[in-house]
Symmetry: D2
Subunit: 237 residues, 4 copies
C-alpha cells in the first residue's frame, strides 16, 4: 500500500528570469529612461556589472524577475521551506481538502545517518549497514501503520483534517513556490552547504536536495548571476 521515495521533485513550471533583467533594473539608477534603449548582450561588461552589484550588495536589481517551481517533498522539508517569508509565495496541497496519498520519504543508502559534533555545527557520517537496514525497516513499518490508521479513521467517517493527525512528517506533499533571484539566493545561502560560502550553513540534507535542484534550474536561466553569487561567497546581495 505504501510507496516510498528517496528523492525530491523540483520542476521549473514557468520563469521570466534572465541576467539582462538585472542589468536593466540596475541601470535605471544612472540612466533613467534611457534604460529603455539599452541593447544588452551577455558580454564581459555585463559580467563585470553583475559582479559589481553582487559584491557591493546592491540587492534590489535582482528582484525584477520571477520563477515558479512545482515541488514535491516531505512535510518536514516544507516546514523548513515555509520559514522563508520574504519574496516567496506558496500554495500547498491541503490535508483538509484532500485525502493524502501514501507516499513517504525513506533515506537512500547514500544519506549519512549518524550525527557527530555539537549543536550549531553538526556533521554527519554514513552509519553502519545495520543502521541503514534498521532505519529502512522501522520507518517503513511505522509509515504503514500510521497510514493504515488514517484510512481506518476516514472509513469511520472522521473528517480528513482530524484523521491526518496521525500522519508522519515524512509524508510527501506538493506545492507551487514562486520566488525571484534575490529571495532564491537567500534560500540557497542558508539551505546548501558549499565550499565557497563565506558563512557556512548546515542545512538538513533533504531540503538541500530540493535547493540543489532549484539552483540547477536557476543557473541555466541566469548563468552570470549564478556564477557571481558563488564567486562572491554565496551571500544574497
Amino acid at each position: 500500500m505504501i510507496i516510498t521515495r528517496k528523492d525530491m521533485t523540483v520542476e521549473l513550471v514557468r520563469s521570466d528570469a534572465l541576467d539582462e533583467h538585472v542589468i536593466f533594473a540596475a541601470k535605471v539608477s544612472t540612466l533613467g529612461e534611457q534604460t529603455q534603449l539599452l541593447e544588452t548582450k551577455n558580454d564581459i561588461s555585463d559580467e563585470k556589472f553583475i559582479n559589481f552589484l553582487m559584491k557591493n550588495r546592491h540587492g534590489s536589481p535582482f528582484e525584477h524577475n520571477s520563477m515558479t517551481f512545482f515541488i514535491q517533498a516531505p512535510i518536514f522539508v516544507f516546514r523548513e521551506f515555509h520559514r522563508h517569508r520574504v519574496g516567496w509565495s506558496y500554495n500547498e496541497e491541503s490535508g483538509r481538502y484532500t485525502q493524502l496519498s501514501p507516499v513517504f520519504y525513506l533515506p537512500s543508502e547514500g544519506r549519512n545517518l549518524v550525527q557527530i559534533g555539537k549543536a550549531g555545527s553538526y556533521d554527519f557520517i554514513p552509519g553502519s549497514y545495520d543502521q541503514y537496514q534498521d532505519t529502512q525497516a522501522l520507518l517503513l513499518d511505522s509509515y504503514d501503520k500510521s497510514y493504515h490508521t488514517y484510512l481506518t479513521l476516514l472509513e469511520k467517517g472522521i473528517a480528513r483534517e482530524i484523521a491526518r493527525a496521525c500522519l508522519p512528517v515524512a509524508i510527501y506533499s506538493s506545492m507551487y513556490a514562486t520566488c525571484n533571484a534575490r529571495s532564491l539566493m537567500n534560500f540557497l545561502s542558508l539551505r546548501t552547504k558549499h565550499a565557497n560560502s563565506s558563512f557556512p550553513s548546515y542545512p538538513q540534507r533533504e531540503i538541500e536536495m530540493v535547493a540543489e535542484k532549484m539552483e540547477e534550474a536557476w543557473a541555466q536561466l541566469m548563468p552570470i548571476t549564478h556564477r557571481k553569487f558563488t564567486e562572491n561567497g554565496r551571500i544574497a546581495p
Copy 2:
C-alpha cells in the same frame, strides 16, 4: 509513555501595544511634530478616531506596536500558522537539535468530528459517541507506535533529524511568535469564525483555539482597537 493534550498553550510573554500608540502614529500625518505634545486619553474621540481608521482601512497606524507570544500547539497547527508571512516573526523548537517530547493532540469530546458540505465552505457536526471513542483509541495507539519507533531509532544511534521522520503532525511543538496589531488582525480574520465577519472564514478548529487565546490577550491590551475590528467586519485594515 505518551502524554495527550486537547488544548493549546498561548502566553503573552511581552507586549508594547496600546490603543494610544495607534492614535499617535496616525496623527503624525496631520500634526507632524506636534504629535509629540498630544495628551491622549481613552475618551470618546479616541474611539471615533480609531473607528475612522479601521472603517476606512488606514492600516499602517496599527503596526507601531509589538506582542510576543509563547505558543505550544501541534505541528499541523504550526504548519498553517507559518503561512502568515508579513508582520510575523517566528522561532520554533527544532527536531534537529532536540529530542521531541511525547506530547500529542487528541480532540476533546466537544470537537466536531464529521465534515459536511462541500469544498470551500465545509461545516462540521459532532459525530457519534462511537466515532469519538474510535478516534481517541486509534490516534492514541498510532501516536504510541510512532513515538516508540522514534525512540528505537535514536537508541540505534540514528540522527534526530532522520528519526523524527515517523513522528506524526499531531506532536506538540513550541514557538515564540511576534506580531503587531495589524498582522494579528489579518491572522484573526482568517483563523477565527465569527458572526460579525464580512468575509466568512472556515479555519480548522485547532488553529482557531490558538487564535481565540491570542485575541483574548490582545483585547485586553488594546480594547478600543479590538472592538472596532469586530464592529467593522473583522477585516484587517
Copy 3:
C-alpha cells in the same frame, strides 16, 4: 529650459501573468500533483473558480505571477508609491548618481484644483479659470528657478546629492516596479477611486493616473481576475 508634462508614463515591460496561473496554484490544494495534468481553458468554470477565490479572500493563488512596469512620474507620486512594501520591488533613478532632467509636472486643465470637505474624505472641484492660470504660471516659474539653482550649484562643483536639495517634488523620476496580481490589487484598491469599491479610497489624482494605466495593462493580461476583482468590491483578496 524647462519641460512640463501633465501625464504619466506606464509601460508594461515584461509579464508572466495569466488567469490560468491563478487556477493552477489554487488547485494544488485539492489536486496535489495532478494540477500538472490540468488542461485549463478560460471557460465558465474558470470564471466561477476565480470568483470563488476572490470572494472568499483566498489571496495566495494570485501571487504566482509577475509584472514589471517602467514608470515615469513626479517624485511626490513615487513617495506615495514606495509606501507599498509587500510584493513590490523597486529600482529608481538616483539623484546621487545622475544629473536629473528638467521635466516637471503641471496639472492639466481637467485636474480639479480646489479641495472641499473634511480630512479623511476630501472631494475636489475644478476651480476657476484664473486659478488654473495662476497655478500654471506660479508653478512653472518656481520650477524654473529651482532648476536654475540646481544647475548653478553643479557648475560650481557641488555634488549632485547636495545640489538636488532645491529640486521640487514635481520633478519626474523613472523606475522599474515589479509586482504580482495580489500586490497590484492591493495597490489599486487604495490608489483608485471606483464606484464598485466596498471601501472607498481617496487617492491623490496623480498616483491614480499611474494606477489606472497599470490596471489597464493588467486587465488585458488577466481579464477574469480583473473582472472578479471589480465585481467583488475591489478589495485585494
Copy 4:
C-alpha cells in the same frame, strides 16, 4: 520666514528591546518550553551565544523586539529610508492633509560638498569656503522662493496636494518608524560607513546622520547585540 536646520531629529519614543529577548527566542529551538524557565543574566555566556548567532547568521531570534522612533529629516532622506520594506513600519506627515512648515535642510560647514571618484564608490571632500558660502546662499534663496510660491497658491485656494508640487526635497517632514533589531541592523549596514564593515557602504551623509542617532539609541538598549554586530562585520544576520 524660512527656518533652516543642519541636523536631524531622532527620538526613541518607545522600545521593548533587550539582549535577553534574543536569547530567549533562540533557545526555544533547543529547549522548547523550558525557555520559559531560563534565568538570563548578561554574563559571558550570553555574550558568546549572541556572538554565535550573529556570526552564523541566525537572524530570526533578533526579530522578537520592537523600537519606535520619531524622526524629522528632509524628504530626500525619507525617500531613501522608505526603500527599506521588510521589518519596517512607517507613518509620515502628509502634505495632502496639512500645510507643511517652512523648515529646510542646509548643510553644515562640516559637510563635504565635493564628490570625487567614480560611480559606485564615490568619496567626498570638503570643498572651498566659497563653495560653502555659495551653497548656503543659493539653497536658502531657492527654498525661500519655492515656499513663497507654495503660500501664494494656498492663498489662491489651490489644494495643498497641488500647491506642494513646488516644494523642494530639502523640506523637513516628520514620521514614526518602527523596526526590530534585525531590520535595524540591515538599515545600519547599508546606511552607515564604518571601518568594521565587511561590505563597505557609501550612504549619503544625511541619512547616515539619522542612522547614527538610531544606532546610538539602539546600542544602549541592546549593548551585546550591538557590539557583536560591529565585531562581526556589520552585516545583518
